[in-house]
């Protein structure tokens, strides 16, 4: 199998983790988060810097996950106090602020980014083989899918579904909507941070542009295309939107036109995405 093909598969796996993590907020809990790439970036920079400072991979990996989750909590605290309609712009603003942080801090290397990030090390030995890396990433993705599935079926998942359908009613059922929404943010940003860590140690070099609003929208497109709320959908969406640009490389200039048109057309003709259940109203209730 060619190195290039492996590379694409690895990217698919990493973005699948990302898309699934966003799906937890958007699809499971029904909240709009447009700054998701920020968590991706935070995890990447954190893990890269930690390893550069001498930590081992496993420590850096886990720490970046937890710290990103903590930052997700920090965002959730003010963000969730505003009306749901405004969450979109607040999370977007958050994404923009984080991008600015990446661009301006010395420690993150500014616009030139972070270089010389050490590769993954397992049991003390660096992992250079793409196959091994793919295996690692897939394993983590698999764990994530299991946990997402478990969450969805659990009491937490049911609470999220109630909130997604109509949060005021959920409140009357005794569900603490604020806590559950915060939990969605924390869980989601944890996994996004882990994805970032994987990405950083794979590419050995990261810069702020990878984690911009543009990427946040790309991740959203993956979730929407695959089907909001559908786990397999997120995997599919990630696969399509990673592979397609590679296949259509000569048309790279038209990429954004494609994204924009895709989102509009999807919403008009098939808002439930590829794997979504029949009517979006069944997923989201009658709205307001």
């Amino acid at each position: 199998m060619s190195v290039y093909f492996l590379h694409v598969l690895i990217l698919v796996a990493i973005y699948a983790i990302l898309a699934l993590s966003l799906n937890i907020i958007v699809g499971f809990a029904g909240l709009v988060s447009l700054g998701h790439a920020a968590f991706f970036g935070i995890g990447a920079y954190l893990s890269g810097l930690l390893m550069i400072k001498g930590l081992g991979f496993v420590e850096a990996f886990l720490l970046s996950g937890f710290i990103t989750a903590a930052l997700g909590l920090c965002l959730a605290l003010p963000a969730l106090r505003v009306k749901d309609d405004y969450l979109a712009i607040v999370t977007l603003g958050f994404g923009i602020i984080i991008t600015l942080v990446f661009l301006n801090l010395d420690i993150t290397g500014g616009p030139d980014g972070l270089v010389g990030i050490p590769p993954v090390t397992l049991w003390g030995k660096p992992v250079y083989s793409k196959w091994a890396f793919l295996g690692l990433t897939t394993a983590i993705l698999f764990v994530m899918i299991l946990s997402a599935y478990t969450l969805k079926q659990s009491k937490i998942g049911r609470a999220w579904a109630a909130i997604r359908d109509n949060d005021v009613t959920a409140m009357f059922m005794g569900i603490n909507i604020y806590s559950y929404k915060t939990l969605a943010f924390i869980t989601s940003s944890f996994w996004a941070g882990l994805a970032g860590s994987l990405y950083a140690h794979y590419t050995a070099y990261i810069n702020p542009h990878t984690f911009s609003m543009h990427t946040s929208i790309k991740i959203l497109a993956m979730v929407v295309l695959g089907g909001i709320g559908s786990i397999t959908g997120s995997l599919l969406g990630a696969a399509v939107l990673v592979i397609l640009p590679e296949v259509l490389r000569p048309l790279a200039d038209y990429q954004d036109i494609f994204y924009g048109a895709l989102l509009v057309l999807l919403m008009v003709f098939r808002p439930q995405g590829i794997m979504g259940k029949v009517k979006i109203t069944e997923i989201f209730g009658r709205g307001r």
């Binding site: 603003g93 923009i96 602020i97």
Partner: protein, 286 residues
């Protein structure tokens, strides 16, 4: 220095207010967040720049700019929003995001990736305000145009039958229909007005910064939206206040805290206001 920053902030803020008015009207009456409002602004600027370059006639250029903005606005309403009426609000939101990307990347294709300057001669005149700050002739023009348009809009909404109809549709869609108001027309007028205002805003900023580019609308659009929310979404005075507050906050932040983070201050201001007063400065309890 402080006063100067205040003046600069108010000038930029008045332009944000114009775009914010578009957001607030569309949100108030149609219930959707038009993420692509910034792109309408951008097309307004391009319409003017290109026409001015081709004909040298400023009035024609301004009309062309407003016209382009309106055309884009109407197309947007027809294609990206009308089919989605009555759906869960997340759906038109995503559609608007897609439209925003589509519109700006099409602009990139049509007009190229580089900035264009505005081919206009300006006497660099400048006036002193109480000796504490300077305001340039251009800044004065911008503020007067913005304020003038805001006044006209307020008069339209408060005094004319069609303006009141727009408010009525925002309040109670069914009751408005039962009063004989053609709701589709009301939506169209709302979009036209909002687009025209954004178009003018785009032209003003293109002249002010002497740069027109395909991406010039994205960030100002988001900031204007923050301004609309900050001021109280659905409220016309709110959008005006919100725009001015945001412009000032942004300038003061850039001057006194960090100019690198200039873009961040708009959103920080938004979050702060929403925490203290969740419905915005002039928002109504609904």
């Amino acid at each position: 220095m402080l006063f100067q920053q205040l003046v600069n902030g108010l000038v930029v803020g008045s332009v944000y207010a114009l775009v914010a008015l578009g957001y607030t009207m569309i949100y108030g009456i149609l219930g959707i967040i038009n993420f692509a409002q910034g792109e309408i602004y951008m097309y307004g600027a391009f319409g003017a720049v290109i026409t001015l370059g081709a004909t040298g006639d400023l009035s024609l250029a301004v009309l062309a700019g407003i016209g382009s903005a309106c055309i884009v606005g109407v197309l947007l309403e027809r294609i990206a929003f009308r089919p989605l009426r009555g759906t869960h609000p997340l759906i038109p939101l995503i559609s608007a995001i897609g439209a925003s990307i589509l519109l700006s990347s099409v602009a990139r294709l049509l007009f190229g990736p580089d900035d264009r300057s505005f081919p206009l001669e300006f006497h660099p005149s400048s006036y002193s305000i109480f000796g504490a700050a300077e305001i340039t002739g251009l800044q004065l023009v911008i503020m007067s145009v913005s304020v003038g348009l805001m006044v006209i809009l307020s008069l339209f909404v408060n005094l004319t039958k069609h303006g009141k109809a727009m408010v009525a549709v925002a309040m109670d869609n069914d009751a408005a229909r039962l009063s004989g108001i053609n709701v589709n027309n009301a939506y169209m007028i709302t979009f036209l007005l909002g687009s025209a205002l954004s178009g003018v805003a785009g032209i003003l900023m293109a002249v002010y910064y002497n740069a027109t580019s395909f991406s010039m609308g994205t960030l100002p659009g988001l900031k204007a939206f923050s301004a609309a929310i900050l001021g109280g979404v659905g409220s016309i005075p709110g959008a005006i206040v919100g725009g001015l507050v945001l412009g000032v906050a942004e300038n003061l932040g850039a001057a006194y805290i960090s100019s690198n983070f200039k873009d961040a201050f708009a959103f920080i201001a938004l979050v702060l206001v929403l925490i203290i007063r969740p419905r915005g400065i002039m928002g109504s309890r609904k």
